[in-house]
Amino acid sequence: MENLPLVLILSSIVKILIIVHLLLVGVMLMIWAERRVSGWMQDRLGPNRVGPQGLLQPVADGLKFMFKEDIIPDHVDKPLYVLAPAMLLVPALIVVAVVPFGSSITLFGHEIPLQIADINIGILYILAITSLGVYGVVLGAWASNNKYSLLGGLRSSAQMISYELTLGLGIIGILMLTSSLSLRTIAIEQGSYPWQWNFLIHFPAFLAFTTAMFAETNRLPFDLAEAEQELVAGYHTEYSSMKFAMFFMAEYMNMIVGSAVTVTLFLGGWHFFGLENVGGPVWSGLISFGIFFVKTAIFLFGFIWVRWTLPRFRYDQLMNFGWKFLLPVALTSVVVTGILWITTNSRLVVGIGNAISAFIVVSIVAGLLVMTTPKPAIQESDSQFAPTALDAVE
């Protein structure tokens, strides 16, 4: 530890500064993008007055939040009420440390990997830290001392625990094929071309993982913890000013980090048709960073797209979906990947086997659900909608 070259120490500091600020600016850009894209999808303009194309709107919003009065209601549990937003924000910030955002740059004879820390338990670190995020929501909800907040917190904790299982199981297939927990190794193992990337080999696991990630970030269609129509604003009902903003910053940060992790695990990391190898030792690193950035941005657009096109789940639907569809699919994917990889050692066979087995499992579960659900009793009273009336019109 003592004899590290100065270049590496300096580069680490620079990397940390760049990534943290990129994350914060990314949050602002995401808020702007969300409002503009939702406007575009609903055939209206969205904020376009502050700065070019409304780009400075998040800055204006941030200033407004800072200068607003920070109200702490009398009935709250003060220490936890103050602590909760930070407990949500800090995990969201520190997860990014293990995400590799590019290949590497060679400076002054030292190879600098574009990653803050390449630890050999990378994925476990991500799972561990993201599982701490739930405390922010739960404590904020409880400390608010408000029925709606508490309901939101309870919903959120049950949801996060349920979907965490799928999140973990979805990764195991990849671990078996790469035999490494380091995110950098996983990114390198995937080749330059899209058909070598993990999302094709583990397609069901990819879908399950992505869906679980939507649930973990509390986004629509899984945002039952803050369902406006039922719970006012859920766990952050009692929050105002910058504390409220911190909840939202954490949500967007989780989305950005989640997208980056998905890109690393399933979508080939910084690889794109060999483009990442173009240029010298410095340029290829920067290009790979650019590729990673664009991939993450496209995935984030998917987040916004889903939010403004899908309706919210009902709570029992959410639990049924998580436990009866996603979990069996992820579990089968683990078993099938293991068996096929040991017996055939071919990625193609594993990919096909995964897709077929997932299809079979979903059909079986859907069939069982249809058979066990009691048929709704047909009411005789509303005779004006009976088929005879329609037939008469024709």
Binding site: N120, L124, Y125, L139
Partner: protein
């Protein structure tokens, strides 16, 4: 004092403070949170020992899952602040004192023994073999039987819980 020692003292202190707070807070939610802090500090100690995998598992299983369920139950039952008198009678107090003395003796014994050079050397030679790959290899070769037995016990517990819960809900219907 190098960085490792400073970190050890920091994590150790946080872990001790957390552990004492668990029993000294009157409110169950604060107690549960102190326990989370203790678990987290212990994960830090594991990292210092080079046992990264154990540290991650400590956070995932205890801090991330079990304690969230604890909080969930406390919130759901809406347990209030414990009264100053509490349920601890004179009998339990005597029991606690005996247990405390036993633990203290144990602690002193370990502290004296591990201060010798052989234990430190053994610990140093043991580090470096604690990567996830090695743990996996050991679990599925040398410790295969205990591993499988443990997983069977967990499975039995899981099925037991489902059976217990299921019966209750059927009686309600």
């Amino acid at each position: 004092m190098n960085a490792e020692q400073i970190l050890f003292i920091l994590f150790g202190a946080v872990s001790l403070i957390g552990a004492v707070s668990v029993i000294s807070f009157r409110h169950p939610i604060y107690s549960a949170l102190s326990l989370v802090v203790t678990f987290f500090a212990q994960a830090g100690l594991f990292v210092l020992l080079g046992a990264h995998f154990v540290a991650a598992v400590q956070v995932i299983v205890y801090a991330g899952a079990i304690m969230v369920l604890f909080l969930f139950v406390i919130m759901l039952l809406n347990l209030g602040t414990l009264s100053a008198k509490g349920p601890i009678g004179p009998k339990l107090k005597g029991f606690a004192v005996i247990l405390g003395i036993l633990l203290a003796i144990e602690g002193i014994y370990i502290a004296v023994n591990s201060a010798s050079d052989t234990a430190v050397a053994a610990a140093e030679s043991a580090t470096g073999t604690t990567t996830t790959y090695d743990i996996g290899k050991l679990l599925f070769s040398e410790y295969l039987l205990p591993f499988e037995v443990t997983s069977l016990i967990l499975l039995a517990a899981l099925i037991g819980v489902i059976v217990l819960v299921k019966r209750e809900s059927q009686e309600e219907n």
